[in-house]
């Protein structure tokens, strides 16, 4: 009795912030040994898959083919990567067949682009000393830039004009997946192209940003045994539950903000400002913050769902969005908000610059690499992402009208550079100073920067500045 009392007295009582931090809406079932053991049994696997399918049913119309794919992968873990490739091919060619206006034509384009990816992959392995062997991603991105220029100046009176643009747009969709393949080509234990193919828009989510990264990363996060698979799948189930909870919250949040409170969407607030009929400044602030939170919730919903499926397939992938509102610095927020986009920028733009230039000048090196990723890479990605503007406006007008987003990238890169260069200290004591104040500053910065986060070329930059000034009750 006294011993137990003594032991209890030795344990420091948890403070309320600690208790709050330890609280989980969804319990950490992957840490319960009995649950992990059960998830490895036949009944456990079926129960897990059934629960996951129910969750998918509520989230997406592709729930059935997704569930069937995950079922096959769960029961044949030794063939996981090949099955992912097979499922990805089914999701690329078979399932959307009836949705395509010209299925044979569209499929032929995709096959052609994948073949180009295969040839580049093969060339970079076979010719390691050549330019493509040493700088495969640079060759790919330079080649795609030339393709854009070629398409922009291709005469629009010729019958193949539309085909050229269809090819360019479809290539753009696969560009970053091929880039990750090429990054893997120099690895000694690289995957064959058949396995690389599974990473080209994997079946769990048809994004343009590779989620989660490429084959090199997949090899490292793949479950190596039944225990790891069970843990990955339990975490996947939890993440899907999170995605569903957030989607319900988003629905009610949107209804409350735009319905009950009548706060206008940011696009409307900006449009009214452009037409000199602006909402009151405080309504614009409310609109800005509401849009910011809606975007975080929205990206969490689809990001969590994709990663949940990925985990269910046996990969311990990190979340795409992880507690962005707890970020204490601008750089940390960029890391937490859209993790796989940031990773793409870092892998393709940041590291090559950081590891090769200005090695003796630490600050310049960091600044240059950050501008290469958050500035140039970010602008390049979004410019190439929307080739329709180039087709409609022509190359130079498309670049000129892109100035709002270029400004956004420049400010973001500058802020991230400063954020990284500031000496990092351990978090100060006190919940308010350690958490609330830094988080509020970071959120406000990104909210204000959101005014310039536009790639649709609708208004010139002075209109965005007018809206910014209006937030402070100034007008010009």
């Amino acid at each position: 009795m006294s011993a137990s009392l003594g032991a209890t007295a030795g344990i420091a009582p948890l403070t309320w912030p600690q208790r709050l931090a330890n609280f989980r809406i969804i319990p950490r079932i992957e840490t319960y040994p009995a649950v992990v053991t059960f998830a490895q049994t036949l009944v456990g696997k079926l129960a897990l898959l059934a629960l996951f399918s129910v969750g998918l049913r509520l989230a997406t119309e592709d729930w059935l083919p997704l569930s069937v794919s995950l079922l096959a992968i769960t029961f044949f873990p030794l063939r996981r990567r090949l099955l992912v490739t097979a499922a990805t091919l089914v999701f690329t060619f078979v399932l959307p067949w009836s949705k395509y206006a010209h299925p044979v034509y569209t499929s032929a384009l995709v096959v052609f682009i994948i073949s180009i990816g295969a040839v580049l992959f093969w060339l970079s392995i076979e010719l390691p000393k050549s330019v493509i062997g040493r700088h495969p991603v640079f060759v790919l991105l330079a080649g795609y830039s030339f393709l854009i220029v070629f398409a922009a100046y291709f005469p629009n009176t010729t019958p193949v004009y539309l085909t050229v643009w269809d090819f360019t747009a479809t290539f753009g969709v696969y560009l970053w997946f091929i880039a990750y393949s090429l990054l893997d080509a120099s690895a000694p234990n690289r995957d064959s192209f058949a396995l690389q193919l599974g990473t080209y828009r994997p079946f769990w989510g048809l994004t343009v940003v590779p989620v989660p990264k490429g084959a090199n990363y997949w090899r490292r996060i793949e479950a190596k045994n039944a225990d790891q698979l069970a843990v990955a799948q339990l975490k996947g189930l939890k993440l899907l539950a999170w995605s569903l909870l957030i989607s319900v919250f988003l629905k009610y949040f949107t209804a409350l903000v735009h319905g009950h409170l009548a706060i206008p969407p940011l696009a409307l607030a900006l449009s009214r400002s452009v037409h000199h009929d602006a909402y009151p400044w405080y309504v614009c602030w409310a609109s800005l913050f509401a849009e910011f939170f809606e975007e975080i919730l929205s990206i969490s919903v689809w990001g969590h769902r994709f990663i949940a499926c990925c985990r269910m397939a046996g990969f311990h992938a990190l979340r795409n969005t992880y507690r962005p509102l707890s970020s204490r610095t601008i750089a940390e927020f960029w890391n937490r908000y859209y993790f796989y986009f940031k990773e793409l920028m870092v892998d393709v733009f940041f590291y090559p610059v950081f590891l090769n230039f200005f090695k003796t000048r630490k600050k310049l090196r960091l600044a240059l690499a950050t501008f290469a990723a958050a500035g140039f890479g970010n602008a390049f990605y979004h410019f190439m992402h929307d080739p329709k503007y180039i087709a409609e406006l022509g190359l130079w007008r498309a670049i000129a009208s892109y100035h709002v987003y270029l400004f956004y990238c420049a400010v973001l890169a500058t802020a991230i550079t400063i954020s990284q260069m500031r000496r990092r200290h351990p978090a100060p004591a006190g919940f308010l100073r350690a958490r609330v104040v830094p988080a509020f500053c970071v959120i406000t910065f990104y909210c204000v920067l959101r005014i310039f986060d536009y790639t649709d070329r609708a208004y010139p930059i002075q209109e965005h500045f007018r809206f910014l000034a209006h937030l402070f009750n100034l007008s010009f």
């Binding site: 990363y217 890391n335 590891l355 960091l366 200290h425």
Partner: protein, 81 residues
Amino acid sequence: MDSRAEIRKCLQQLLLQKGDRQPFSDSDSLLLSGRLASVDAIEIVVFLEEKFGVDFAEVGFDQALIDSVEAIDSLARAVRK
């Protein structure tokens, strides 16, 4: 201080700056597990360049090379040879 202890100290400091006080073993994944981010990877790269003369432009960079105390230590040893 031996190289492994120096590496451990460097990683400990990075984790501490993030408010992460959890213990870690020499083989524990820190980058791929998400405990450290790419911002921290840069610090590790600079540490390896300055302390052990590692040139990633020659070695070829891969996050797995600097993912744990063990991985970093074996990289540093390989470069010394």
